[in-house]
Every structure is written in C-alpha cells, then in structure tokens.
C-alpha cells in the first residue's frame, strides 16, 4: 500500500527518448507512431535564425499523470479504469469496452488503443512488471541518461520523492483542471 508519484527534474531532459523505448520494451507496448505510454514533448523554437529564443526550446517529458481525481476514471462506464491499491490509475482490459470516453476525457492525451487487445492502454508505473517483481524504479526512471525521474511513495515522508517535493519548487500540468496529478515537475 503506497501512493506512488513521480518527480521530474525536467530541465535535465535532452529529448533522447530513452524513457519511451525502455517503457515499450519493458511493458511490451505495441509499436506504432501513436502507440506510446510516455513521451517527450518539444516546442518549435521561437525567433529567427540566429536570434533564437533558447528558453522557448524546453523539453517536457510526459505520460499519464496518475491523477488523484482522474477524469478518465470518472467517465468509465464499466469501472475498467480504476485506482489500484497503490493509487496508480490502471485499466482492467477485461472490463474495457473501448467506448474511448476516457481517451476524450483525459486532459493529457495519455491513453491510446492497444490494437492487440482492442482496449485502452496507458502508463502503469510498471506496476505489472517491475513493481510486481519487487523492483523500486520504473523502466523510464532507471534508463534515463540525465536522471530526470524520481519515482516513489508520496505517503512515505522519508522517500526521496517526498524529500524532493518538500525542498524543491514544482508544478503540475493543467493543475487548474483540479485533477490533482501525481507527476510533479521540479523547477
């Protein structure tokens, strides 16, 4: 029983996409351009060569935010989307009817259709792979070259993530929607 979250030191991110590939290999994610559980976003740099706006070229890793109040969960007609015992937002593919409501409701574009099961798939925080084996990191965290990610239990005041969130300023994506994400971007 834990309340898992992830802190992202996103300024470290170099958009190498190691996390995305590690996630796919670890979790057997389907290949395909729009089949990804996690990703790194980049904006087109602003300005005209050679006076480009470096600050506009930040990289932002993203994925399911594992919201405390997840819109995807609220809209699921069969409760296929549920919070597991560690507060991780999961999909029970046996119950998923593929109405795609959750895909429309998720403010983060974190869900997609797995064509092999024809159900909705998303980040699981490696719950059914690494965590199930007793490992303490997700695949994306472990592989990251610049060590952007820290995964851990938000309920444990001694965890690294708790320490980070106590001492570093951070923000959440689309916080105004009141979804209470459990991904925290460190500034």
């Amino acid at each position: 029983m834990a309340r898992y979250g992830m802190a992202l030191d996103y300024k470290n991110c170099i958009n190498c996409k190691a996390c995305e590939v590690a996630c796919k290999e670890e979790n057997g994610v389907e290949l395909g351009a729009e089949k990804h559980r996690i990703w790194v976003g980049a904006n087109d740099v602003k300005g005209e060569w050679p006076l480009l706006d470096i600050a506009s070229a930040a990289f932002l890793p993203s994925q399911c935010q594992h919201c405390e109040d997840a819109p995807c969960q609220e809209v699921c007609p069969t409760n296929a989307t549920y919070y597991d015992e560690n507060h991780v937002v999961r999909v029970d593919s046996d119950k998923c009817i593929l109405c795609s409501y959750c895909m429309n409701a998720c403010p983060y574009d974190a869900r997609y259709v797995d064509d092999r099961t024809m159900t909705v798939d998303k980040c699981t925080f490696c719950s059914d792979t690494r965590l199930a084996r007793g490992e303490t990191t997700t695949a994306c965290q472990a592989t990251c070259p610049t060590k952007v990610r820290t995964f851990g239990d938000l309920d444990d005041p001694n965890s690294e993530i708790s320490e980070l969130l106590r001492t570093r300023e951070h923000f959440s994506l689309k916080a105004h929607l009141g979804t209470n994400p459990k991904l925290f971007y460190l500034t």
């Binding site: 190691a18 590939v21 670890e26 979790n27 290949l31 740099v45 060569w49 792979t129 592989t143």
Partner: protein
C-alpha cells in the same frame, strides 16, 4: 491471453509494402523458427514477466560509446535491456538506441546464413550455403568471382593485394590480427579516418592526451561542434545536462544549427561552419593580450609559448577580425574569453566527431592550447589525464611475408597513421589506378563504407573493381550487396567479447557476456576468424612457400612442420582459446581470481569496487570515493606544446594559423550541406531498427524557413538535392534552426540494400552527396565542404 501480432505477420505486412526483388535472398528474409536455447520472440516487444529471470551483463554495441547493461533473458528471449549501475562510464543509463538494441538481434532482415553470390554485384542475388562452403568460396572462388588462392598466386604472394576494413567495436582487434598479422596485409582502413582522427591527433600532439572532461565539477563550458544531447557520449552527456541551465555549469554552445544541445545552453552562437579555428584564435588573442592565462602552469609545462604569443598577436587574430569570419560578434568573443579565463574550472570541450573542415587538426591544437592557457588540466573540473586500468597484452605469433608490399595511401598526406590509413585516399588511389600494385580483394567487417565514406559512387566503383569481396556483418548493409561471400555474425547480445578497459578519472574494466546463443546459423566474430583461419592456413602457406625465398630457406633449415607451426603460419593459432577463456586468463593475471568473479557477476570490475561502489540515491551511484578519483595524477604526459616544430618539417603549420583558403564560399542559390547525428539513431544499421523507426522514420533536409517560404517549399515536400558527385531526394523540414545558406541532414539514411526492408530507399544518404575532400594532415574525410543545389520535385 491477448492475441499479439506475431513477428511473422508484422513482417509479412511490411514486406508487402516494399519491393522484394526476385532474388534468392528474398526468400531467406522470412523468419526461420528454431526452438533451441535461444528463440525468436512471438511479438516485436515482449512484456517482461513477473518471474525471476536471468540478468546477464552485456556491453551495448549499438553505437561506439559502450554503455554497460544487464540483459533480462526469459525462456531464451531477451525481453529487456537494463542499465548496469556498476559501470562508471555509463553510470546506470541506456539511451533510446541502447534500449532498442533488442530489435537488432531480432531484426527479421538479419543475415542468418552464410551466402555466396550467384547474381551480379549489387543485385542482391545470393545462395544460402554452409559455413564450410562459404569459407571454401573465399579460398577458391566460384564461377562468379575469383578466390584468394588464385589472387595471391597471380600477385605472387603480395599479401597487400588484400585490403580490409572494420568499423569500431570490441572484436575489431581480432579482425586486425586475422587480416593484418596473420594473413599479412598492410592495407587497412577503418572508421577513424572518417571520424575523429584529427581530434585525437591534435590533442595528443598538444597536451599529451585526449583526456576526459570533468563536467561534474567544471563551472564553465564552451562546447563547439559537439552535440552531446543528440550524439550521446557518457559520462559527458549525463554530467553536462544535469548542471546546465543555471545549475552550476555555464554552457556556451557553438553550432551552425540550433541543436538540442543549444537548447540547453546559456548562450548559443550560430558559428559559420568550419570557422571555429578563427573563434579559438580570437579567444586566445583576448587571453594573451589581456594576460588572462595561468602563467605558472605555462612556465612549468609550456613549449614555445613566446613564439605562439607573438604569432597570435602579430597575426592580429582579434575578436573583430574573427567576427567577420565566424559570424560571432566581437563583443561576445571578448566576453566569452574573459569569462572562460576567470572561471574556476573552465573547459573548452574537446569533442569527438567527423572532420568537418580542412583545418580540423589545427583547430584541435588551438582548442587544446586555449584550454592549457587556463591551466585547467589534470585537476578536478578540468581535462583529466587520469589512469586507465591496464589489461595484459596478448601475444600474437605473426608470420613474416617477404612478398607483401607496403602502404601507398599517403598521397597529399602529411602523417600516415601507423594502423589504419585514410579510407578516402586509399579508395581513390585504387579507383584511379594510382596504387603501385593492384588491390584485388576487400574483406569488410561491421562497416558500411558506401554509406560512411563520402562519395558513395566511388566506393561502389571501388568494390566493383575488386576480384573478391567478403563481408562479415549482422545486417545486409548497402556494402554487403557488393560482397561475394557473406558471413553472418552474431549480434552483440549473442556473443562474449574481449574484455575492455574504459575510463581515466574513474577507470574500470568491463565484459560483454553473451545473453543468448547466436540465432540462426550466425557465429561470433572470433569463431569466424578462427574457422576462416583454419581453412586458409595451409593453402596460403603453400603459396608463400612458392614465392618467398626466405621462407623456402627456413623450411629447408628447420623443416616445414616446424616453420609452419613456430613462425605463426598456423593462422588460427591466435584463437586457440575461446573469448571467455582468454578474458578469464587476462583478468586473473592482472587483478586476481576475485576480480574475475566480480566481473562475471557484475560485468564490471575495478579495484575495491565492492568497497567503493555505493548507491547515493535512486538514480545515482558513487563509483570511487572523492579522494580516490584520479583527478590529478603524476605523469610525464602533461605538456602544453604551443609550437610543434616537427610539424613544419612535414609541411604542417607548427602553430595554429588561419588561412584564407579555409574560407568556404557558398555561391548564390546554392547551400552548404552539413551533416550530423540524432539521439534516436546511430548510422545506417539502425535505420532498420523497428523500435527506432517509430521515433525517427526517415531523415529530412533542414532548410531555413524563410528561404523555404520564398521557394514555396513546405514541410514534407520532396526535394532533389544535387552536388557535384551525386543526387538524392529527401523531404523538406523548413526550420529557423539553420542558417539561410545551409542545409542539413542526419547521416545514415537512404539505404540502398533491398534486403533491409525497413531502411531501403528511406530518406537520403549524405555520403552520396559529399565530395571526396580530405584534410592535409591524416587524409581524414572532410564532411562540411560540399555545396548542393535543391529543387522541389
């Protein structure tokens, strides 16, 4: 259980979209299911199970960097590659390509069986044969090509009629032993002359080392022409970007393009390509004229400082002078020079990349000198000399071939490298019939010169000209299509490789262990060397005996059996023990039995690893305690050679000097072609990687957005790009990240081999366009001095 799209089905789907030739090769494209210890996964990605699984230490081979990891093996299938937290060089990480390495092993297009050519060169028609038949085809030839025996006979045992090439890797040395030492040719070319030869040369000549940049502790960094966010080198990439962006390491990036590294910079200067030398000279001018340098350090280690000072000042390499050349404002140059020299631990990053301009050797010299002026060498936060861990050398019993002739690829080159020569000069001399004796056979391994060496047309001509081409590789590359005999090699997850030593500041030795048995009928490189050597030994010895008088004398004196054995003519004697056994012997000899045990288990060893290695937090580890890191070492290598007099004797400037001929002009309406790397892609071999293809499916031509607007070019439009030596078509990527008179493409796409179904015809290959220009010191290929014209098609 969800139904997975099987690999076979996926393949069939993709094959249907591509043109499959009527070649015999086409038939071998399909997966051959073989249920043994190793098996092919049912789907492209395999979800790891919750069971315990074997975790086998491996060393990544998808690029040259060498990151360590553990391969998770479940039921004979590698399901995941995880980073190895014990290796100080790669510090518990694997990049996107490293993670996607699984897909190389399970690439459906892999070379699976030995092949012998039955069609014409380049048409991809091959016949599947047994290994024995393949080796014999090399020796005796077929009705389509000549064998080694006939060639050597005709060349009267001039072993140098055989040439060979090999790309970077742990088994490269073995191939050098087979071809250079045992078979006995001098004609060897490799990736160095299309890569970082001048960098290494320049740094060693100037400060006695290439060193390591201690980016964990530096506080000021000029990183020019090195794109560490996209061309990942460890630990540099990791150390740098954890501290950039106002977090302790002020970062100044010079690059014609706005790269992902530039995106992380405090300042980015869009330097005019090939003019970094002027920038460094101007920095030096500021440092010298304002006396900002470390006088004590120069006094102790400097050679020819006064001469250099006079040289710089008298040539008036002022910031204003450099502004016109480099496109970097003088005041920025002055600011940068002052900041650098007043920083506690400044580093002008050495970089390592292909040669972009003819002055590259002098650029490296100037960079090393500028670094030296700060005195920030051999100390924490500076360029580290350090102490590598030494592994015992292995003795090779090399036969002497008196008939073998010497190297000739020194046309217009000042320094002929001791080991491998200049690919471009060598190739051109052979093609232009300027070699003093015919070069008639080419043995290639893990190298794709058609895609790698500028002017692909000439490389193709070179290969076509050979009587015998042999290729040892994993995938059917462009160059493989010109081979007569193809020997399929095990991928790096299927083989144990010779143990290697890495690192200066935190040195370690590392071993790649086979995670699974070789798939299909592939063999490890060392096994191939051995078996080929066994087949060639006796027949080749007979030829030497026929033409080599001295050998005949020896045979008379000592008896054939003894000479054959004692003088190294048993070519396979270098591989009597297998790799694992030799690794054990070397490690035990150097570090003891315990070291071997640790290495076997962890994949990594260094003294006191068990005591020193500690986890600091979830992501980071301590490898050596602070006081055991080799920040400063006692060494005679430290020097700072301002004036390298000897260079003048061979026609090279003894001090870095700017010459007007270095200015490169781009005619109106044309564009300067520049090339580079990408973080999800290494080179031609990775274009066929299914996983990476998802991330970057093809290359595009960067063109300045405003220019594109004027020309009516939109994103994705097809462009024809034409240079003096070739033309390609490629999609357009209008962006502000590039100058108006330049275009850029990632190197390595545009595969010509139909048997790489994902890569074939996908994007464009820069080598087709690049003119064969080389720099004067080593003959290294110059990549950024080609103008192209573009046209919407």
């Amino acid at each position: 259980m969800p139904k997975e799209i099987s690999r076979r089905r996926f393949l069939q789907g993709s094959v249907a979209l591509t043109v499959i030739g009527s070649s015999a090769m086409g038939k071998t494209n399909f997966i051959y299911f073989k249920k043994e210890k190793s098996s092919i996964p049912e789907s492209i990605t395999t979800k790891t199970s919750t069971k315990k699984a074997e975790e086998i230490p491996f060393l990544c081979g998808i690029c040259v960097n060498k990151c360590a990891g553990f391969a998770r093996v479940e039921d004979g299938v590698v399901t995941k590659l995880n980073p190895n937290p014990y290796f100080p060089k790669s510090r518990n990480m694997l990049c996107a390509r490293g993670n996607a390495g699984i897909q190389t092993t399970y690439d459906p297009d892999r070379l699976k069986y030995p092949l012998v050519r039955i069609g014409e060169r380049g048409d991809g028609k091959y016949k599947r044969v047994s290994w024995e038949e393949a080796y014999n085809a090399i020796l005796h030839g077929t009705d389509k090509f000549k064998g080694l025996l006939q060639i050597l006979e005709e060349e009267k045992d001039n072993r140098s009629t055989i040439a060979y090439c090999n790309g970077e890797g742990l088994s490269k040395e073995g191939f050098e032993v087979l071809m250079g030492e045992k078979i006995g040719t001098v004609n060897y070319v490799d990736e160095v002359s299309i890569c970082l030869e001048t960098t290494l040369g320049g740094y060693f000549a100037t400060i006695g080392t290439y060193g390591e940049a201690d980016l964990s502790n530096a506080d000021y960094l000029i990183i020019a022409g090195a794109n560490r966010a996209e061309a990942i080198i460890t630990p540099d990439t990791m150390d740098l970007f954890k501290r950039s962006k106002g977090r302790g390491l002020k970062t100044i990036v010079l690059d014609p393009r706005f790269t992902n590294t530039a995106a992380k910079a405090d300042r980015w200067y869009a330097v005019n390509p090939g003019t970094d030398l002027a920038f460094v000279l101007a920095l030096t001018y500021v440092a010298l004229s304002e006396e900002l340098y470390d006088k004590a350090f120069i006094k102790k280690y400097g050679v020819g400082f006064e001469a250099y000072k006079n040289h710089i000042i008298s040539h008036k390499y002022t910031p204003e002078w450099a502004e016109n050349i480099t496109n970097i404002p003088a005041k920025e140059i002055i600011k940068t020079a002052r900041e650098f020299m007043s920083a506690q631990s400044p580093i002008y990053y050495q970089g390592r990349r292909s040669v972009f301009s003819k002055n590259d050797f002098q650029l490296r010299r100037a960079m090393a000198i500028f670094q030296g002026l700060s005195g920030n060498l051999n100390k924490k936060g500076g360029i580290i000399y350090g102490e590598p861990l030494e592994l015992p050398e292995e003795e090779i019993n090399s036969p002497i071939y008196n008939q073998a002739q010497g190297r000739f690829d020194k046309h217009n080159i000042a320094i002929l490298s001791q080991r491998a020569g200049s690919w471009m000069v060598f190739r051109n001399m052979v093609v232009e019939k300027k070699s003093p004796y015919p070069v008639r056979a080419m043995f290639m391994r893990k190298h794709n010169p058609i895609a790698g060496v500028p002017n692909s047309a000439k490389t193709i001509q070179f290969l076509k000209q050979m009587d015998l081409n042999v290729m040892i590789d994993i995938l059917p590359s462009d160059s493989m299509m010109y081979a007569d005999v193809v020997l399929p090699e095990a991928s790096y997850l299927e083989r144990t490789s010779p143990v290697a030593s890495y690192g200066l500041l935190e040195p370690a030795i590392v071993q790649r262990k086979a995670a699974i048995e070789p798939l299909y009928e592939t063999k490890t490189p060392e096994q191939i060397y051995k078996e080929l050597a066994e087949v060639l030994s006796k027949p080749l010895f007979e030829i030497s005996k026929k033409y080599d008088n001295e050998l005949q004398e020896e045979v008379k004196k000592r008896g054939e059996k003894n000479v054959y054995k004692e003088d190294g003519y048993i070519l396979s004697d270098a591989w009597e023990k297998d790799v694992a056994e030799r690794n054990r012997e070397r490690v035990v000899k150097a570090f003891g039995e315990d070291a071997w045990k640790i290495l076997e288990e962890k994949g990594v060893y260094y003294s006191n690893i068990e005591k020193y290695h500690k986890q600091v937090n979830a992501n980071e580890y301590q490898y050596y305690p602070e006081n055991k890191k080799k920040y400063s070492v006692e060494t005679d290598n430290i020097k700072l050679v301002f004036n390298f007099r000897h260079l003048a004797d061979i026609g090279v400037d003894s001090m870095p000097t700017w010459k007007d001929e270095y200015l490169f002009s781009v005619p109106e309406g044309k564009f300067r072609l520049i090339t580079g790397r990408h973080a999800q892609f290494t080179q031609s071999a990775t274009t066929n990687n299914m996983m990476l293809r998802d991330l970057i499916h093809t290359n595009y031509l960067w063109i300045n957005r405003r220019i594109a607007d004027k020309k009516g070019i939109k994103f994705g439009d097809m462009l024809e790009v034409k240079s003096k030596v070739g033309k390609v078509t490629i999609k357009a990527y209008p962006t502000e990240k590039i100058a108006p008179n330049q275009v850029f493409m990632i190197h390595g796409f545009g595969g010509l081999s139909q048997d790489m179904t994902m890569a074939y015809g996908n994007g464009a290959n820069d080598a087709t366009l690049l003119e064969d220009i080389h720099e004067p010191v080593y003959g290294a290929a110059v990549m950024h001095e080609t103008n192209v014209e573009i046209r919407k098609v």
